[in-house]
Amino acid sequence: MNKLLSRFPRENGFEITLAGFALLYLLLFAGLPLLYNIVLSFQQVDLMEPATLLRPFAGLANYRDVFSRPEAGQVLSNTLQFVGLSLLFQVVIGFLLAMLFLQDFPLATFMRGLFLAGWIMPGLVVGVIWKLLFAGDYGVLNHVLTQMGILHSKIFWLSDPQWSLYAVIIANVWLGVPFNMLLLSVGLAAIPADLYEAAELDGANAWQRFWGITLPMMKSTLGAVVSLGAIMTMQQFDLLAALTQGGPANSSQVAQYWSWQLSLQTFEVSAGSAVATLMMVLVLIVAVIYVRSTRNERMV
């Protein structure tokens, strides 16, 4: 230990101690649970028995059990759709809004700031409000869509298995748009204005300027936004809890909610931890991509 410490420059001893507390905390309460989860997924866990670290070894039985369940295929496809569609709409809408609010008009910054009200709200409350908006018989969304001629009959957004997943996605897009817009605005604002001026002099129209300058210059920001959006979507729990609880008949079930239900509602911790381990691997891969993509511009 002394040998390790002496490798640090002496004058940074105070700073190292400061960082040490936080890292130790994270190691204890985030790092260890991460490992413990992997251990649990290979064990036969019975919560009724007194807690021990050594439980009967189960090999891959938990993973086999999870995949052999009838809902496994649906959960997989729902999770992919949930992440994919949420990302697509969050980024596209966020991009359009970022470009709108970058124009010069009165109150632009103020209005852009108002969007973050959606982001600051507790996810559960957002879910509950959307549940009211989605109501089949008296919901305002059905009313507005019929008025606009988009719908001809009411949709039972939350109780119709055909629609439930998309309802959750719509609410999740609403929640994710402000953050996407904000980060994309920062990227857009950083593009030098003279690039556009030069292109305009060369006779490029707005469309060509967008494809020729804006998109290529936004590549690294878009990379960061997409991976951050994927992480936040894979973290989404509160909306699911408030809106559909994975139902009806698992039609809106996604992996992170399924894992929680298995562990904490039916107390099948073995199965729950197996799903959690698989999902965590995915989250960690995206997280590493995110960190590395932002690292290139970072002044570290």
Partner: protein
């Protein structure tokens, strides 16, 4: 002229986006008969409200108190442990701190809904579920600490290095340089990050729902979801509950909007 056309478009877009919040607030003032009308009314016909009744019947004082305790505990520890770490990771730049920043950023990504399985199992074994609010604070910090360190580090990076060096040359210890010179300069960033941590913990749901088994210690989010589960149709009550719960959050946000926007963009991209 073009500026005003753009402004009108932006106003419409903002209004559409904020419509769910508007809907929550006007539902609070609707009467029971009006609530289930179709087509729905966009402005309450005979405004009435049940703020006090919902607050008392749903035991909101106790729920909000528990949420407040958990949010304060989480924010306090996060501030205490995280500020120094954010400073250290901004100040010292070598292989070790790069690795530490990498670890912190990656840990930030772990979803609570997945982490709760091992945490629940371990806490149950360790007997930590006997003190449920404390257990939630411990678990929630693993989420807020990385977030706080990342945000705060950005504001420490902006403090010129020369200031610390000058203090050291003048004979101050590293500790005095930190508390006397650097901390006061970064206090804005620290406050904004702390408020974001507080608001996040005040609305936390996964850990409270999973680790608190006794209703007496339950938080406002779980109280709300229990309310929704119990009635399903008392939307006026549910929206009243929601409005009482989120209005302080929205006011805090409106007051600090500018600073929050600046702090967030600095932390996430730079």
């Amino acid at each position: 002229m073009k500026r005003y056309v753009l402004m009108v478009i932006a106003l419409i877009v903002t209004a559409v986006y904020l419509f769910p919040l508007y809907w929550m607030y006007i539902t609070v003032f609707k009467s029971a008969a009006e609530m289930f009308q179709f087509p729905p009314t966009f402005w309450p016909q005979q405004a009435e409200s049940h703020l006090r009744q919902v607050f008392e019947e749903r035991n909101m004082a106790r729920f909000l108190w528990n949420s407040l305790l958990i949010a304060c505990g989480t924010t306090g520890v996060t501030l205490l442990v995280g500020t120094g770490a954010a400073y250290a990771l901004a100040q010292v730049q070598n292989r070790w701190t790069s690795a530490a920043i990498f670890a912190v950023l990656v840990l930030q990504a772990l979803p609570s809904s997945l982490m709760v399985t091992p945490i629940f199992t371990a806490f149950k074994g360790l007997g930590l579920l006997e003190t449920p609010r404390f257990a939630v604070v411990i678990a929630q910090i693993t989420k807020t600490l990385p977030f706080y360190i990342v945000l705060c580090r950005a504001s420490f990076v902006q403090v010129p290095r020369e200031l610390r060096d000058a203090a050291l040359v003048d004979g101050a210890s590293p500790m005095r340089a930190f508390f006397g010179v650097i901390l006061p300069l970064a206090v804005n960033g620290i406050l904004v990050s702390a408020i974001l941590v507080f608001l996040q913990s005040f609305g936390e749901y996964v850990y409270a729902r999973s680790l608190i088994l006794d209703d007496q210690y339950q938080t406002a989010t779980v109280g709300l979801s229990a309310f929704v589960g119990a009635t399903k149709t008392d939307w006026i009550g549910i929206m009243t509950y929601s409005a009482i719960f989120v209005t302080p959050i929205l006011i805090a946000f409106m007051l600090l909007q500018r600073k929050i926007v600046a702090g967030l963009t600095a932390g996430a991209l730079k």
